[in-house]
Point group: C4
Chain length 320, copies 4
């Protein structure tokens, strides 16, 4: 039973708070895969939901890319009008203006364009419904069109107003010289024009160890040079000093890579444009960490006395 | 007077904070019904509000099911157009194109479809208003239509953006073995695709007792194995260990069932998609608690090394 | 200079935090009017803003009553169409279909209804623009119409989504018997269907006193029997016990009424439907406080064992 | 490397928290320009983002002025219809009603107005599409129109609902007499009708100093007479008393002006209308600070006993 796992890990000396991350014991302790993907999503899978529960159309429409979103709208627009076109054809030969003179293909085509004119409420009037059933179908068509575009408007605004931080992480984390010792470092920058303020970073380190023949995942929260900045106008190099207290203190590169090491990053901030709290997550797996390197300097002194930062340089590093 | 009740309960030794749940003394102490329904609503009734105050159309339109919502829209659409159809007929025999040639039924029907075309702003033009009063009615019709669909758009978005956690609770709470002792356990899972983070649980226990011939409701906040997880990607089994400090420590099954026992659950979390705080409430009444059982294991090891959870197994338990 | 006032009040012994309410020294100390109106607005006035700054159309459209809001929309709709009607007439005798045959009044009327048909995008087509200038005006008309209704939709949703608690306050505050002493009491109830949770109350007492020939306003935060409830399904009687620590302890009714006494109430809560923090303010001035009375009991035992509350009884009290 | 800068500044005695403002070391220590502009934006520049990343159309449309916003909409409306007009012309001589009789310029003009009628869904019907390709283009035109206005609606509402405090700062900060000593003072007022509550102010002071031949920026958080007010109905004069603890205590006017002194102001508050947290930032550079002056009194006693404040007087000061 899963509870036993929790109990066991509770009895050893690992930090209690960190076991409460919510991954569950089996995922934490048996999986050799990464816990968090680079894009911040969780590397787990849920099954057992009904088709409709797992469909979750709204969530998909909200989080898909803009291109896919517009294509979905256009597809829905075409399909719905094709259905209504068929309904108009089924309403008989006197359904629409001039229907009687046309063959079945041309009728459907005319009905399709008529449906488009009704659905979008353009209604040129060159074609118009002639019998009662066609009038009823047209009334429904216009109703569906208006509700559909009301839905699209709601979705568009929901997509706009989603509080999402677009934080750029350096492609690699580095083990770099830091003062007299070493440090684990990575860089972040705000990809958006809107300001982020009160940015807070939590950095966790996790690896699988084998102790007394028992494979177990350990979690550590790492100390940071600073874990909070009030403003975030430029970039920020986040540093964990590898001092005596650090769980990385005595770990060599080979041991580091062999033990499924992973850095988990949790960032929360306030978006200044909308005064919303935003979250960002990412992780560096052992193969995304470079041993003994330092980041390039992204600052550029301008002629007018101000200082800029070149975000292209953010990912660059050199060996030491 | 109701204040006396509060005073009385204040004088006995029960935890002060818990009496401040807001149910009021009479409800707390005299009602033998459950306090909280399974869906999280309160089992109380308010009267004395005027019809319009209690109608609260907006709140109803916001919280009804999607099917009922769309049917309400469609009904409103039909009724409003029927009213405008009647208005057009009342505008006289020269109100609309070709009106004079038609009987009263056909006039109304034509007017209805014309109103639909105006309300939805389709406006084919095969029918159009011919006199001034019909033109005025048509101007109103289009105005009402546009404002109506603006309202519908607002409502649709309000429905979308309501921060609602859809938390699935196991059908039963269990008194199950936990380490060397017993525990009260239940399970929750996130039914949505969107992530919940920083999930916090408060578990209260309440029962009616008779002391010194006085019937009284007691509230206790129960200690939990953990009351907070940072992430919630899978399911979570919430455990109250029944140790010496637990108010359930010495209560047998019969006494438990006889004293109107009820577990109240309050969950708050942050929805990762919208960065909104969401709340969920539920309760287990004594007849929804199984004595001496344990939950089935929902974890499944995948071939690729990841671990999944089958939510269908969430409600399953076996006797011990 | 106003700073001196602050300094002076700082030097006397009044509670520091309470002087920071933000009313400013002159308002606090010289005004004999109430500080807070019953509806929670402040009894002060700002001048010196330019016409547009003080107009604040958006704020007005957001906070006016629904009836006034719909009337404003209808008025705007009529005025804009009248303006466009005039523009169409100015486009010459060949601007619209059949224009040439009509006199100036009928032209304007036809142009008005044509503008309505364009503004609302109905566009029957019985009338349509014939020359280039009329086509340009029609294009603008339709653009203004669509942007106007987009604005109306935005406003409607902004009105919907405003987090407003509709808290009903008892018409009077009472000085009533409370346990062995007296208390200042008033009642609140939630007028909405949506649940309020985590309701917190702050009660302040203020009066003008004359000390050493100097007139001064004093503020006190009053202790409450309880200042927070987790749920608020029914009503809540808020009680300040008038014990030795209370600033009301030795104040008789006459002194109370003579010294411009006022109770300021600040309530914050979380609206369960939208998970939004809502605020409510009100005040009881000395003439709205009844000396020696108690509230009627609003609880009603139902036959099915549940307990209801009759909100009509909320305002009722009887002398003691 | 930039890290060294941080290290160096860490070794001197300046307050640690204040160095974490997020400006980065190079900006902090080498730039002689102001850090924060009067409007609260940061005086730094980011480069290296791709064209689309730096375009950030949504953010621009959200934060531009209303006039520019409406002009952008109108421009987009014209351009899109011009494109569709060209598409209709390319659909051949039988694309639209009466097309064949017209020259190429008149065709394009007719097609433009027809596109407007389709895009806005007016659809008079005097012109309508005659062949299949024109019908398809018209279907796209109407689709783009509806999605476009859905986007405009979303944008309009997003502009409405942005939580923005419009806080008016006095044009100058003053070094003014305060009690027996001096103080640095400035004034703020709420320019909006909506109430701000729970207003909190943080005041930072920064200047460049040269120590041991090393140029360095120092940050100090300044103590305030009060840093928080519960309500903000009028104006508020914020005072930093220049006592022994103040970093301004022994600084003369010349030294003040020579060392790139700058006051950074951070304000957070809750907007009562929307219950949203709002932020405002501003700064006073040395040349915006007046030495030895005091603010004029903006309070006006009304005849009815209430007190008003004249915001025009807010910026006024007189020498002492």
């Amino acid at each position: 039973m899963s509870r036993n796992k929790f109990n066991k890990s509770r009895q050893n000396g690992a930090t209690e708070d960190l076991r409460d991350l919510g991954f569950g014991s089996r995922v934490s302790e048996e999986s050799s895969e990464r816990l968090l993907n680079r894009d911040g999503s969780f590397n787990v899978e849920r099954t057992g939901l009904s088709f409709f529960q797992s469909l979750n159309l709204y969530h998909s429409l909200l989080t898909m890319s803009w291109n896919r979103f517009y294509l979905s709208l256009l597809l829905g627009y075409t399909v719905v009008n094709a259905i209504f076109a068929t309904a108009f054809v089924l309403c008989g030969p006197d359904a629409l203006t001039n229907f009687q003179e046309l063959g079945i293909t041309e009728r459907w085509l005319n009905a399709f364009f008529f449906s488009v004119q009704t659905f979008t409420t353009v209604g040129y009037g060159a074609i118009s419904p002639s019998n009662i059933s066609a009038n009823v179908v047209a009334a429904l068509d216009a109703f569906v069109g208006l509700v559909g575009f009301a839905l699209a408007t709601g979705l568009l605004f929901a997509r706009f107003s989603r509080p999402t931080a677009k934080i750029m992480y350096s492609t690699h984390g580095l083990k770099a010289p830091y003062r007299d010792i070493n440090g684990f470092m990575f860089r972040i920058a705000n990809q958006r024009k809107s300001q982020l303020i009160e940015v807070e970073v939590t950095l966790l380190f996790t690896r699988l160890i084998t102790k007394d023949g028992d494979r177990r995942r350990e979690y550590y929260q790492l100390n940071l040079e600073r874990n909070r900045v009030s403003f975030f106008p430029l970039h920020w190099t986040i540093v964990h000093p590898i001092d005596e207290e650090s769980p990385l203190y005595n770990i060599g590169e080979e041991e580091f890579r062999a033990s499924n090491s992973e850095f988990l990053i949790l960032i929360s901030a306030t978006d200044d444009t909308f005064a919303q709290t935003v979250h960002s997550r990412s992780s560096y797996r052992h193969n995304e960490v470079v041993w003994n390197a330092r980041f390039a300097d992204p600052f550029q002194m301008k002629e007018d006395g101000t200082i800029g930062v070149d975000l292209k340089v953010m990912h660059e590093w050199e060996g030491v």
